[in-house]
């Protein structure tokens, strides 16, 4: 038996559909910025700060999870229905999904993923060089062919991790292990 429509007009239905499909907004945390901050703090080791950071991260993770679970009731009704139609159109003009791996925001938040991307790389490299000096730049990977590696990820990732300060390197290893697990 079909569900009663409660005499909703098309605009209301459209709004209702849109709200149902909305997911919570992605936590505004940048993985690189977070790790950079941790790396910097590690220069002045402070157990209290470390514990505070751990507690804050735990709270944040719990908060994020809660937000995820409570997504359908998120207060997103302040926008007028005619404005909502613009977003509907924006969704429609977006091209279809490509067959590329997508890293969920939560996975990025906890560092599971990801090979560096060119976009992040310049910003990441620049900030690292400004903080730690040019020694964090990747060195050419030894190859028998005599030419630089054509595997950019390897060229950027592996030597950079070796050159990084210990705390950063440790985080890098954790990420690598997380990636493999």
């Amino acid at each position: 038996m079909p569900e009663p429509t409660h005499a909703m007009n098309p605009a209301d239905r459209e709004l209702e559909d849109a709200l149902r499909t909305l997911t919570p907004s992605e936590p505004r945390i940048d993985r690189d910025a977070l790790m950079f901050r941790l790396g910097r703090e590690s220069v002045r080791p402070s157990c209290a700060r470390w514990r505070f950071a751990a507690a804050a991260m735990l709270l944040f993770a719990v908060g994020s999870l809660t937000l995820h679970v409570s997504a359908p009731s998120a207060p997103m009704t302040t926008i007028a229905p005619d404005r909502m139609a613009e977003y509907q159109n924006a969704i429609e003009i977006a091209p279809p999904m490509m067959n590329q791996p997508y890293t969920p925001p939560t996975a990025r938040l906890i560092g599971i993923s990801t090979r560096p991307t060119p976009v992040n790389d310049y910003l990441h490299m620049r900030n690292m060089v400004l903080t730690y000096g040019v020694d964090v730049l990747p060195e050419p990977v030894a190859r028998g062919g005599g030419l630089p590696s054509d595997d950019l990820d390897e060229l950027i990732e592996r030597p950079a991790a070796q050159a990084l300060p210990p705390f950063w390197r440790q985080l890098h290893r954790i990420m690598q292990n997380g990636d493999n697990s």
């Binding site: 505004r28 997103m76 490509m98 997508y102 310049y122």
Partner: protein, 485 residues
């Protein structure tokens, strides 16, 4: 199990759980490298011998003379030269040896082993010199086309080349061949200058690093008993030696190079379609193109969610920045959001960059103020969001150039001391102003003459860290004047 033992077990487990982060913290502390003391400037102790300025004054110039240069682009020739340095053996063995030799005192260098190792790369050295003689250097990076995707693959090989040069210069100095040392220094300083002429901040910083390496070699050279006085050649490097403006010119425009369609929005050419498309694309800057499929439906929905949440903030911003309520209401939501993001970004960006061209002592407060404002701003504030994420620490960048200038100024001061000693029976000058026919270098961190005093038969030359930087970024040179045998 009784209550008491349960209590202690629980206590033990709690303590264990609590101690885990502490153990990790302690481990981190133990693994932290021997960083320089943040509270102390870098102390450099030098023993120098009297030496009058050379005649002609620029006989030992540290950059190529225009008469020796040739037209053309050096980048290709550099690439050709360093392509021979990437073999397995070189990277694993020779380059590692050169690093090792850079830390051994000159007197302890294994000269025969060095001679053989360097001899194997004499053709590379020739090609490096050949490249350095070209008048211009265009690395032809693809910033305009690729924005943040631009690859800077030439930098690491150039740093390898610098290490090779550094090892060669140390060898030259150790065997007393100062003409060769200066010839190779000339290649090194030219390489540093040409690398720094790239279009990115990272290239500028690598140029500084190579320059600093060459200045270390200069410090070693001028401590040799019969080394020529290099006051005028060092002065002739230029003030500043490296142009700090060039390497940040693109830092203002990365966003628009990465998302070229933003250029239309920036010119006020808004269309609803453009705004919608860019609002979908902008979050991808945060996540990276290859990690996040910007066309994946959930991302689009997330963007929509973010837009819904931020629209009231955008309206507030626009109303506070000159738009009437009617104009704001008439504006499509995507345009309102995009306008707020871009206007806010450009305002913050230019408020920071406008200080950069000034001397550091005039710019430091202004740059610091903007840095602080950005740090203290709400992470979800639209007008500062892009600036927080994309803008570099200009103060750190600018102070790196200042630090290089300070090192050049200090080397000039040492040569003034050698000149005075040569003309005054080995004595130290009471003041650098006492040295005739020379100008006291200016400390680029303060705009004042470099601080100098004599203590216990030693000259103390000081260049404190630039304002707002750790004290360890400053220098104290302690110079003793010895007499030749």
């Amino acid at each position: 199990m009784n209550v008491r033992s349960s209590f202690f077990t629980a206590l033990f487990v709690s303590a264990l759980m609590l101690s885990a982060p502490m153990i990790l913290c302690a481990q981190v502390a133990l693994q932290t490298p021997d960083a320089p003391d943040e509270d102390q400037p870098q102390r450099v102790v030098l023993t120098v011998y009297p030496a009058a300025p050379s005649k002609p004054a620029l006989r030992y110039a540290l950059l190529h003379e225009v008469i020796d240069q040739k037209p053309g682009n050096a980048a290709l020739a550099y690439e050709r030269a360093v392509s021979q340095l990437n073999g397995e053996q070189y990277v694993k063995d020779t380059d590692a040896l050169f690093r090792q030799w850079s830390e051994i005192p000159l007197a302890d260098l294994p000269l025969e082993e060095m001679k053989q190792a360097l001899g194997r790369y004499s053709n590379v050295m020739e090609q490096l010199e050949f490249a350095s003689l070209y008048e211009s250097c265009d690395w032809q990076t693809t910033i305009r086309e690729h924005g943040f995707h631009t690859l800077l693959l030439h930098l690491s090989p150039m740093r390898q080349a610098a290490r090779l040069l550094s090892a060669q210069i140390r060898y030259d100095i150790a065997v007393g061949d100062f003409d060769q040392a200066i010839r190779h220094l000339r290649i090194g300083f030219t390489l540093a200058k040409q690398v720094s002429q790239g279009q990115t901040l990272i290239e500028g910083l690598v140029g500084i690093s190579i320059s600093a390496l060459m200045l270390e070699r200069v410090r070693e050279l001028i401590q040799q008993p019969s080394a020529p006085n290099l006051y005028w050649p060092i002065t002739d490097l230029g003030q500043p030696f490296l142009d700090p403006r060039q390497s940040v010119s693109w830092e203002r425009w990365w966003l628009y190079a990465t998302l070229p369609k933003l250029k239309d929005a920036r010119k006020g050419k808004y269309s609803v379609e453009l705004c919608r498309e860019l609002m979908v694309q902008l979050p991808s800057i945060e996540g990276g193109w290859s990690n996040i499929d910007q066309r994946e439906p959930s991302l689009t929905l997330q963007t929509t969610g973010v837009a819904v949440a931020l629209y009231p903030q955008a309206k507030q911003y626009l109303l506070a920045h000159g738009r009437t309520a009617e104009q704001v209401e008439a504006m499509p939501v995507a345009e309102a959001l995009l306008t707020t993001l871009l206007e806010g970004y450009e305002t913050q960006r230019d408020d920071l960059f406008k200080w950069y061209s000034l001397p550091y002592w005039q710019a430091a407060d202004g740059m610091r103020r903007i840095d602080d404002q950005l740090k203290q701003s709400d992470e979800m504030a639209m007008d500062t969001f892009l600036a927080r994420f994309l803008l570099p620490s200009l103060q750190a960048a600018r102070s790196s150039y200042v630090s290089l200038e300070q090192q050049i100024a200090l080397a000039r001061c040492v040569e003034m001391i050698r000149q005075y000693a040569a003309e005054n029976d080995g004595r130290l000058p009471a003041s650098l102003a006492d040295v005739r026919d020379a100008a006291v270098p200016i400390d680029s961190a303060t705009g004042q003459p470099i601080a100098y005093r004599v203590e216990n038969d030693r000259a103390i030359i000081e260049a404190p860290a630039p304002k707002y930087r750790p004290k360890s970024k400053g220098f104290v040179y302690e110079v003793r004047a010895a007499k030749r045998d």
